[in-house]
C-alpha cells in the first residue's frame, strides 16, 4: 500500500508519537513537580492508542493482512495481538511508575515520553517485514531502553546497568546488522517474504553456501536473542534488571521480551521458514538447544539469588527459554502457545514486579529478607505475590500452568520429548526459588515489629488487575481462541 494510504492504518503509531510530544510539552507547562498530569496524559495516550488498535483491527482485520508503506510493515492479527499486549504492559508500567518512589519527579516528562516512544518502537518490531525496518525498530527500542535503564539520577547501579546494556546491545545489534547485510547480499532484497523465496532458490541452485545462511541466521539470532535474553545472549539482563528502576525492569522483562518474540517469530517463520532452507540449516534444532540452555541456566542461576529483582531477572530468562520452545516447532500450535503464554506472562510477571515496587516503597528493600513476615502485615499483597509466583512456577489453577501446559503440549506434539522433559524438570527447580520468597513472606516473622502497612485502594485495584487474570485466564476460552487466530497469518510449513 502506498505511503499516504497507509496512514489511516498507522493511526495507533501516529497517536503514540503525538502523545509522546504532547507529554513533553505538557511537562514544560506543568510547574508542579508532584503533579502526575503527564503520567495521566500518557495513560490517556495508551488508551487512545488501544482504542485505535482495536478499531483498526475490527474494521480491517477481516481483510486479511495488509502490507503498509510499500512493504515496510504489515498489519495483521499477529501484530494487533502484540500491540494490545504491549499497550497493556506500557499502561501497567506507567501505573507502576506513578507509585514508584525511585524515579526523579523532575524528569517525569521525558520519562513518559520515552515510554511512549519505546512502545512505538515495539509496535514496529511486531509489524516490520523489511530488514531495514526491523533493524530500525529494534534500535529504537534498544536505544530507548538504554536510556530508561540508566534513568535513575545518582544511582551508580542504574548507570552501570545502562552502560552494560548499551555495550552489549550495540555489539549484538552490530552483529545482527552484519548478518542482515549478508541476507541482503545473498538475496538482493530487504523484504522478508522475498528473502525466504530467494534463499530457498539459491540454496537449491547451489549458488550460496549453507554456511553463509547459517552465519546470517546465527548473527540475526544474536540480535533477536539479546532482546529475548536467551543463552548465550542473556548475560546483560540480570545486571540490567537489577540496576534499572523497577518499573523499567518490569517493562523490559515483559514488553521488550514480547516484542522480541514478535520479531523473532516473524523473522524466522517468514524469512527462514522454508523447508529447503531448513534442510541446509537446521535452525529449529539450534533454537531447541538454545531454549533448553536458556531455561536451565536461568533457573539454576536464580536459585541462589538474594535480590528479588535479580531473581526475577533470571526467572524471566528462564521463561524466555520456555517460550522459545514454542518457536522451534514450526507449528501454529507452537506459536499459539507462545502468544498465550506471553499474555499469561504479562500479567503474572508484571504483577510480581508491582509487588516488588510496593515492597521497595514500604520496606525499602529489594532483598528476600525484606519480604519476611509480609503476610502478617500486608496479607493481600503477600497473597497476590504468592499467586504470581506460583503462577510463574506453573502450578494449577493459576494461568501460568495453562500457559506451560499449552507450550508443552505443542512441544510434545512435535516429538521433542527431551525438550519437554528439560522444561518440566526446570519448572520443578524453579519452584524452589519462587518458594523461597513465599517462604519469607508467609513462614517467617518480620525481624522487628512492623506495623501493618495499609495500601491505598488504588493499589489494591491495580493489584487485582493482575491477580484476577492470573487466576482466571486459563479457564476462559477466549484467550486460546485469540492467540490461535493471531497465529493464522504466519506461514507454516
Amino acid at each position: 500500500m502506498k505511503n499516504i494510504d497507509s496512514l489511516l492504518y498507522f493511526t495507533p503509531e501516529i497517536l503514540l508519537v503525538i502523545f509522546a510530544v504532547a507529554v513533553i510539552l505538557l511537562d514544560l507547562v506543568v510547574k508542579n513537580r508532584e503533579s502526575s498530569a503527564v503520567a495521566h496524559l500518557s495513560l490517556v495516550g495508551c488508551i487512545c492508542t488501544f482504542a485505535a488498535v482495536l478499531f483498526i483491527h475490527f474494521s480491517f482485520g477481516d481483510e486479511g493482512p495488509i502490507s503498509l508503506f510499500l512493504g515496510m510493515i504489515r498489519l495483521d492479527t499477529f501484530s494487533s495481538f502484540f500491540k494490545i499486549l504491549l499497550l497493556l504492559a506500557t499502561a501497567a508500567t506507567i501505573l507502576f511508575s506513578l507509585r514508584s518512589e525511585e524515579l526523579d519527579a523532575r524528569l517525569k516528562g521525558e520519562y513518559y515520553a520515552l515510554l511512549l516512544a519505546i512502545t512505538l518502537g515495539m509496535f514496529l518490531m511486531a509489524s516490520s517485514t523489511n530488514l531495514l525496518m526491523i533493524f530500525i525498530s529494534l534500535e529504537t527500542v534498544s536505544l530507548t531502553s538504554y536510556i530508561l535503564a540508566g534513568f535513575l539520577t545518582h544511582s551508580p547501579r542504574s548507570s552501570e546497568a545502562a552502560f552494560k546494556y548499551i555495550t552489549y546491545g550495540a555489539v549484538a545489534s552490530g552483529t545482527m546488522l552484519f548478518g542482515l547485510s549478508f541476507l541482503f547480499g545473498m538475496t538482493g532484497t530487504g523484504d522478508l517474504a522475498q528473502i525466504a523465496g530467494r534463499l530457498t532458490e539459491l540454496l537449491a541452485a547451489g549458488d550460496i553456501a549453507p554456511l553463509a545462511v547459517l552465519i546470517a541466521i546465527t548473527f540475526v539470532l544474536a540480535g533477536v536473542g539479546y532482546k529475548i535474553a536467551s543463552v548465550p545472549f542473556h548475560m546483560w539482563s540480570p545486571d540490567v534488571y537489577e540496576g534499572a528502576p523497577i518499573p523499567i525492569t518490569a517493562f523490559l522483562s515483559v514488553a521488550s521480551k514480547s516484542a522480541g518474540f514478535a520479531l523473532f517469530i516473524r523473522f524466522f517463520y517468514t524469512g527462514f521458514g522454508s523447508t529447503g532452507l531448513m534442510e541446509s540449516v537446521n535452525w529449529p534444532l539450534m533454537l531447541a538447544i538454545v531454549s533448553a540452555l536458556t531455561m536451565t541456566v536461568g533457573n539454576l542461576a536464580a536459585l541462589p539469588q538474594q535480590n528479588v529483582k535479580r531473581l526475577l531477572a533470571y526467572s524471566s530468562i528462564a521463561h524466555g527459554g520456555y517460550l522459545l520452545m514454542g518457536g522451534v516447532l514450526l507449528t501454529s500450535e507452537g506459536i499459539g502457545a507462545i502468544l498465550f503464554y506471553l499474555v499469561v506472562y504479562l500479567f503474572m510477571n508484571l504483577g510480581a514486579f508491582y509487588v516488588v515496587v510496593l515492597v521497595a516503597n514500604e520496606v525499602g528493600s529489594e532483598m528476600i529478607d525484606g519480604y519476611r513476615g509480609l503476610a502478617s502485615h500486608a496479607p493481600l499483597v503477600a497473597g497476590a505475590m504468592m499467586i504470581f509466583l506460583f503462577s510463574l512456577t506453573g502450578i494449577p489453577p493459576f494461568a501460568g500452568f495453562f500457559g506451560k501446559w499449552i507450550l508443552f503440549t505443542a512441544v510434545l506434539e512435535q516429538g521433542y520429548y527431551w525438550l519437554a522433559l528439560v522444561g518440566l524438570l526446570n519448572s520443578v527447580v524453579s519452584l524452589y526459588y519462587y518458594a523461597r520468597i513465599v517462604k519469607a513472606m508467609f513462614f517467617e516473622e518480620a525481624g522487628e515489629e512492623t506495623d501493618s502497612v495499609s495500601f491505598s485502594t488504588g493499589t489494591f485495584a491495580l493489584l487485582s488487575v493482575f491477580v484476577i487474570p492470573t487466576i482466571f485466564i486459563g479457564f476462559l476460552n477466549i484467550f486460546y481462541t485469540f492467540s490461535n487466530i493471531s497465529v493464522s497469518v504466519m506461514p507454516m510449513q
Binding site: 530488514l131 531495514l132 533493524f135 530500525i136 534500535e139 536505544l143 538504554y146 536510556i147 540508566g150 545518582h154 551508580p156 547501579r157 548507570s159 552501570e160 546497568a161 545502562a162 552502560f163 552494560k164 548499551i166 555495550t167 550495540a170 555489539v171 552490530g174 552483529t175 546488522l177 552484519f178 542482515l180 547485510s181 549478508f182 541482503f184 547480499g185 545473498m186 538482493g188 532484497t189 530487504g190 540480570p238 545486571d239 537489577e242 540496576g243 541462589p304 539469588q305 535479580r310
Partner: protein
C-alpha cells in the same frame, strides 16, 4: 575490484571491531570498536547494493545511510552513558564497572 574485495575488507573491519570490543579496557575504545563493526556493515550494504542488485536499485546504499544515522544516535547515547559512568565510578574501564554481578 570484485565484490569479494569489499567483503574481505568489511570482514576484517568487523573482526577488528569485535577484537576491540573484547580486548580494550576502555569504554571509548569499545565504542570505537562498535563503530568499526557498524562501518563494516555499511560497507557490506553498499557493496552488495553495487554488485548484487540492478544498478538502478540503490536501496542498499540507503540502508547504509540509515546505518550511519543510527550509529550516530547510538554513539551519542553511548558517550552520554560513558560520561555518567565516569561520574559515578571515576573510571571508564569496563572491568571496574562491576558492582552488579552474580
Amino acid at each position: 575490484m570484485t565484490l569479494q574485495h569489499y567483503l574481505v575488507i568489511s570482514a576484517i573491519l568487523f573482526t577488528l571491531g569485535i577484537f576491540a570490543v573484547l580486548t580494550r579496557r576502555n569504554a571509548i575504545s569499545i565504542l570505537m570498536g562498535i563503530e568499526l563493526i557498524l562501518n563494516s556493515c555499511n560497507l557490506n550494504f553498499a557493496a552488495f547494493s553495487r554488485f548484487m542488485t540492478p544498478s538502478e536499485d540503490i536501496s542498499g546504499q540507503i540502508i547504509a545511510i540509515f546505518g550511519i544515522v543510527l550509529a550516530a544516535a547510538e554513539a551519542a547515547v553511548f558517550l552520554a552513558i560513558i560520561l555518567a559512568i565516569y561520574r559515578e565510578f571515576g573510571s571508564i574501564r569496563p572491568d571496574e564497572v562491576d558492582t552488579l554481578k552474580g
